[in-house]
């Protein structure tokens, strides 16, 4: 399997197709397989060179004890672009993967041709979202409770707290948790729970509301029509100079899984609207 050294770590990636570079960035606790399951890997490869990779600590990439903030992982992403010879790329991120993509666009605007932000919420925009309406977290809490992990409302969407509780389950609690979520998911969560990921991903890490609003590359805010983060979507459209909105019908926070065809249709339409980049050094 293709592995590539980036920032002193080995990251697992998969590539397909030829053309302008598109890089696909999954969310925290996920892995690059979401891009296969929603058919992005096959469809986008028709007219792009598609690269999907596992974030540090995820999938088949190396687990680092720390360095999980959006700033750290934007550096991983830019390092990966160097390693695969992509001067510029269209970045497509889901959930925290979109936060990483946006942070990369802030750090290196010349290298980012376009941004697709699929259902992120940003640590710096946390105040926009009303916790009580956040069904996704409520559903997650119920699932966790069923698996023997109690999460209070005070720590909504606090992965650090969640990881900590999972790590400290007693033997029978761990057995119950494993039965509820399955062995691979348990192993992944335990592995990630021992890193600083939970705490790192809560910080804005320099991606403040003002800086986020300065991102001027063509951007698509792609949200589930019943996303818990629609206030964030509105904020992005209002504040970023070149940001348009698309809603995926029938989807909540996980549009690539909940409505893969709707997700992919909106993604393709946006990428086509960007057109082909000028050939470097060529005549315009």
């Amino acid at each position: 399997m293709p592995k590539i050294p980036v920032n002193g770590l080995t990251l697992h990636l998969q590539q397909a197709g030829d053309g302008p570079d598109v890089i696909l960035i999954h969310g925290v606790t996920g892995d690059l397989s979401i891009w296969y399951l929603c058919r992005a890997m096959v469809e986008l490869a028709i007219d792009h060179r598609v690269t999907a990779y596992d974030l540090r600590g995820h999938g088949y990439s190396e687990v680092a004890p720390s360095g999980y903030s959006s700033a750290d992982q934007a550096a991983d992403l830019l390092g990966l672009m160097d390693a695969i010879g992509a001067d510029r790329a269209r970045l497509v991120g889901h959930s925290f993967g979109a936060v990483i993509a946006a942070h990369a666009a802030l750090l290196a605007p010349d290298r980012v041709e376009a941004l697709v932000l699929s259902d992120p919420y940003f640590p710096a925009l946390r105040h926009l979202e009303d916790v009580s309406r956040w069904g996704h977290w409520q559903a997650f809490r119920e699932e966790a409770a069923g698996a023997g992990v109690t999460l209070s409302d005070e720590h909504w969407y606090d992965l650090g707290k969640f990881f900590d509780q999972v790590l400290h389950l007693d033997d029978s609690g761990m057995l119950r948790f494993r039965r509820a979520v399955g062995l691979p998911a348990t192993e992944r969560l335990l592995r990630l729970g021992r890193t600083s990921c939970g705490e790192d991903t809560k910080r804005d890490a320099g991606l403040t509301a003002d800086r986020l609003s300065s991102i001027a590359v063509p951007t698509l805010a792609l949200y589930g029509e019943a996303s818990p983060f629609l206030a964030t979507a509105d904020y992005l459209v209002e504040h970023l100079p070149d940001c348009r909105l698309a809603l995926v019908p029938g989807a909540k926070h996980r549009a690539p899984q909940e409505n893969p065809d709707g997700f992919l249709g909106a993604l393709r339409e946006f990428l086509q609207s960007i057109g082909s980049p000028p050939v470097p050094g060529g005549v315009r």
């Binding site: 399997m1 397909a16 892995d31 397989s33 296969y36 058919r39 890997m41 088949y60 691979p184």
Partner: protein, 90 residues
């Protein structure tokens, strides 16, 4: 290779895949996720390993996309064998 030869071969590959040993019998009804305890990322890596093993590109991207669109998202080893037989035949 016939489908039953492929099935036997898959049993060998999956009994010790990426350091995850599986001691139970592996047959056509064995489920990739529920029984073998593998995840969808393992399916991506397995697909790649099988292309190397059989020395040709196989449309695993299509198989994964199909899996992402159906109700029962688990993959049976028999289905994988049939997919391989279809694309390795001829």
């Amino acid at each position: 290779m016939s489908e039953s030869e492929i099935l036997d071969d898959l049993g060998r590959v999956l009994s010790d895949f990426q350091g995850r040993e599986y001691s139970g019998p592996i047959g056509p009804e064995t489920r990739f996720f529920e029984d073998l305890g593998l995840a969808s990322i393992d399916a991506v890596v397995l697909g790649e390993a099988l292309q190397d093993r059989y020395g040709r590109p196989l449309p695993f991207g299509e198989l994964m996309a199909e899996l992402g669109r159906r109700e029962d998202r688990d993959l049976r080893v028999g289905e994988l064998a049939a997919f391989l037989a279809r694309h390795l035949g001829g």
